[in-house]
Point group: C2
Chain length 122, copies 2
């Protein structure tokens, strides 16, 4: 799916800055935070966060907080769970878990705990 299709029919304008931002998030193999993207997008942080909010409102994007107190962002394609390690703060996609809850609409699942490599290094 192309980025333009994600934005199409939504209540937002298609700007080069937005396409760039969404493409970076889409190509990443895990959610990213502002700090990890800021050098690759030529976009002010105010604009970044404003766009993130827009994308969330329009349902294009998932956001969640890690244990490092930062927000992580991901384009909402191929929904899957995320593991956040409380020791090393790494964020990892977990594809083989499927959760449903009657009467709830689920955007994202975040699992907090200790990852295998941190468990091994104790």
């Amino acid at each position: 799916m192309k980025i333009e299709e994600l934005i199409k029919d939504k209540n937002i304008k298609l700007t080069t800055a937005r396409v760039k931002l969404l493409e970076i998030l889409k190509e990443a193999d895990r959610p990213l935070c502002y700090e990890e993207i800021k050098n690759d997008i030529s976009m002010d942080k105010a604009t970044f966060y404003r766009n993130i909010s827009k994308f969330e409102e329009e349902g294009i994007l998932n956001a969640f907080e890690s244990n490092d107190k930062k927000r992580y962002f991901e384009v909402r394609l191929n929904p899957h769970a995320h593991f956040v390690c409380v020791k090393c703060n790494s964020v990892e996609c977990i594809k083989n878990i499927d959760i449903t809850l009657p009467n709830y609409e689920i955007n994202n699942v975040i699992i907090n705990g200790t990852c295998p490599s941190c468990l091994a290094s104790v």
Copy 2:
């Protein structure tokens, strides 16, 4: 289980302020944030956050961020999942979900999405 037992054998001292804090968290039916507790504990916010960190290190407590950018805290008894509504930011305990991941140690599961009452009010 009594609060004193939670602290026993841990590397921290048993103070009245800590017992009070843990008791409030233990009695609550859902995770609470600093704002919700501050009037009930006579504890400075610096001390509050320092104690939270201690409790986390000692494995007494789970913490996670909601969509309102605040951290929510819960005593780690009877582990269960949590649902955080992206619309109203309510935090709810979900008892009937059980997740295991080989090679991972799981502390907490957070599900983001829209809760039944927000879904109904659209």
